[in-house]
Symmetry: C2
């Protein structure tokens, strides 16, 4: 049969790739094809041959990782709520056209869904574009919301440094027509609060403005048509030295060497209010309308940040560009600083942990009549923060509980399964967090060991004698103390002994 | 240019489809193609022409819907935690081969990702297969975990009835080698607790066993090779009358009419312990090894459910089949019952809200050596529950708050933005949930109105006189009462006035 020959040929391909130690992705792809061909043939040989893994750039979160994740989320959500935000959620995929033309050079990293008939779809690349689509679709002109969800980028993963293809973003955005820089300042305050609260060590929040950048490009002699692509080059300055960025500008992007050198002088500058004042006097920049507007607003922003008492961690930095196309005003990025006294062998290079900015044109791109809704927002890049928290927890040897069980219902003798089931059911119905071992006749030692392993603080032991006396023996795992408690007082006793207040 | 001609041709296609009022999906697809072609050409005309919507079968959750969603999740999560479950999370997509051969006839509903180089991926169809993959990959043989996440099915959506293409599942599963039916009984207890807790009205949990079904098929004369496909037909009995199911069996699936009629007699049966006893005496079924095993375990299950006190809502139902291939033992499904005294004009037909069963072979399908890990679990179908809760809330006219803000920092006079910023910053730093309006000089009336609209209970008013006196005027929105509070006592005063205990 022709199909069988095709399967054999495909099997050969897989064998060859494995011998050649080819790219695991490539192997996985060919194995998948082989399995599908076999499935159609109705043979199931080799069904255990596939690669047992999560997709490239993704990971599972086990109970321990989840406990850490929940802690970080809790800090972030309580900050967002402290600032009066509502919460929304959007689908994980959008119409492909919704994402088209929003991300500039990064668009190539968008995951598309296969055309299986119906609409063409893509996985969301961030939470900002779906938010803008949501506002336009529902004609909302005024909202302060947060959104915590996974986004998807076909990037080169670097998982030890917390860079994944599937990762969480925690976004807070303020949409609406307001007086200048008040919502922008609040976004920076939020970043400051969250990074302080999570105790991730020292950090700095770099701030710039797209209008200042564009004005700078103009006075440096960059043609209008090259603004966005030169902006993308500047954006690489946090990873790549100036020399390389310069040669990309001149070589690949056809910028004149003189213009590049003028840019090179500006992008070295960073500072605070005094730098803003100096640039407002800069003979070239001060003549540019955009740059002047941007610098004026930057000054106002610094005044508000002074009232918030956070300028110590803010740096006005002309090299900050941000990759995305949709920013129109203030942009910012928070970077963790490597502690100088941390002489660890393999320091985690964590880089940027939060970023954001103003995007006044994005909603208008979705509105049928082009009506604009000014927006500013911040996105917390939580995966890098997880990496640090995980590392720290591992170093601390703190034992983290992954359940909240208050009591194990146990028995010391055999044939008491029914009694254990009855008691645990009573406790569940009273709202007590309780477990039993799923054995007919478990040994007491095994039951106590289970409590030690999982951190359950109490054991409720039923036995023949206790049943006769109408009591339950309550054992405190930490102290090995045992007390008889009347059955009708058991719930109350467990509540008292496990209450945190 | 050839490209421009192609764009024009594509634009014609779109125009024609719109004139013909074609399927919106179809239009959206062609518009997306057109936009991409235009983007490549560098023209942006028609950029506002696209369809502004979420993908078919999906929806956004606005702040109000989120508030309802959070309530339901809270009830479900607290039940899962009460039963001692840990929590895990897995990626939204899996290698395509991970999902291959797990879902039977439903496999056609799986969303695949586009082949953009690298691995072939599919969106998860449920949380059970990723869980089994997780167990095999990490060699875990013993865990009790919950997982709440979105899954994806290219099904025909019926959104008013809560059927979506993207929807949440709330799964609780127990993996491990244990004594029979103890974990199975706990899963049913959990369904009972959650449905009671959410107060969704009367419900029944139907229970059956794949072994009883298979035994029944055998004694009715169904050939082994047709077990799974006949099982799929039986699964339709909750939506389709027996006549139609019978003609599918005989017509499409080539079952003999006699065998179909024999099945027809069995699938009418439902009841409790007495039905189990009767079938254990059934001359044909009792001769079948599988059926006998299944019935024996069903009897044990009912004994445990009696100890839990929940048999009143449990129905052993021979027509329950469940669509998925991977079940091997007990299966169950919870159905809400339409209240007879509810004479609403358009009653929501809600159907199944939870389902699950035992799947002892699934983990072994992933293990390189085929090692099995027995599992049983339950999945709560939360979208239908949301629909009911949303309807109920709308009917009740209860006003639901979507933020937790405790206090609005306001001013009665102009030129006090700086003072408002200073005060709100102090409150944030003290952990108080506080907001300001983003206006330089907002009117007091607008500030008070904002509190009325959003349910903020307190207003902290700063004015020239208050600043001089070192106080803040605290207004209680509900009573319009105003008191002067010394600035250093403000935080404490707000805490006291907004504490829930």
């Amino acid at each position: 049969m022709a199909e069988e020959a095709a399967v054999r040929a495909q099997a050969d391909t897989v064998r060859r790739l494995k011998q050649d130690k080819a790219d695991p992705d490539e192997i996985a792809k060919e194995v998948a094809k082989l399995l599908e061909m076999k499935a159609q043939l109705g043979t199931d040989e080799g069904k255990h041959k596939f690669v047992l893994k999560t997709p490239k750039g993704t990971r599972d979160f086990g109970p321990k990782e989840m406990a850490i994740r929940e802690r970080a989320f809790k800090a972030i959500i309580s900050c967002f709520k402290r600032h009066g935000a509502e919460v929304i959620d959007t689908p994980v995929f959008e119409l492909k056209e919704t994402l088209t033309g929003k991300y500039g050079e990064d668009s190539k990293l968008i995951y598309d869904l296969k055309d299986q008939g119906g609409e063409l779809l893509s996985l969301r690349y961030d939470l900002t574009v779906p938010f803008a689509r949501y506002l336009a679709m529902n004609k909302i002109t005024n909202i302060k919301r947060y959104h915590i969800a996974k986004v998807y980028r076909r990037d080169n993963p670097a998982m030890t440094r917390g860079r994944y293809r599937e990762f969480y973003q925690c976004d807070f955005d303020i949409a609406g027509q307001f007086d200048p820089m008040i919502p922008d300042a609040e976004c920076l305050k939020i970043v400051h609060e969250i990074l302080s609260d999570l105790q991730l060590g020292d950090f700095v929040i770099k701030v710039n403005d797209r209008r200042i950048l564009d004005g700078m490009f103009a006075v440096c002699g960059v043609p209008d048509s090259k603004f966005r692509t030169i902006c993308s080059s500047v954006d690489k300055l946090d990873k790549v030295p100036w020399d390389e960025v310069r040669s990309e500008m001149v070589g690949e992007k056809g910028l004149s060497p003189e213009a590049a050198d003028r840019i090179g002088e500006y992008v070295q500058l960073h500072g605070g209010l005094e730098l803003i004042e100096r640039l407002l006097q800069d003979p070239k920049l001060s003549q540019n309308k955009l740059a002047k507007e941007g610098l004026g607003d930057m000054k106002l922003l610094f005044e508000y940040l002074t009232l918030f008492g956070i300028t110590g961690k803010i740096s006005f930095d002309l090299s900050l560009a941000r990759g995305l196309d949709y920013y129109t005003g203030v942009i910012f990025e928070a970077v963790l600083l490597q502690q100088e006294n941390e002489h660890v062998e393999e320091p985690v290079s964590v880089g940027s942990v939060a970023g954001g900015g103003r995007y006044d044109g994005l909603v208008g791109m979705f509105d049928p009549k082009g009506r604009k809704v000014p927006c500013v927002g911040v996105s917390i890049g939580i995966e890098r923060i997880f990496s640090i928290l995980e590392q720290r927890l591992e170093a601390s040897e703190e034992k983290i509980r992954t359940t909240e069980t208050q009591v194990l219902v146990a028995s010391a003798q055999k044939k008491l399964l029914e009694e254990r089931l009855k008691l645990v059911s009573e406790l569940w119905d009273a709202g007590i967090k309780a477990e039993i071992l799923y054995k007919k006749n478990p040994k007491l030692l095994n039951q106590l060991q289970y409590c030690e392993d999982t951190g359950i603080p109490l054991v409720a032991i039923v036995g023949e004698q206790e049943l006769k006396d109408g009591v339950v023996k309550l054992r405190i795992v930490a102290t090995r103390e045992e007390v008889n408690v009347r059955r009708e007082s058991l719930v109350e006793e467990i509540r008292i002994r496990t209450s945190q207040c």
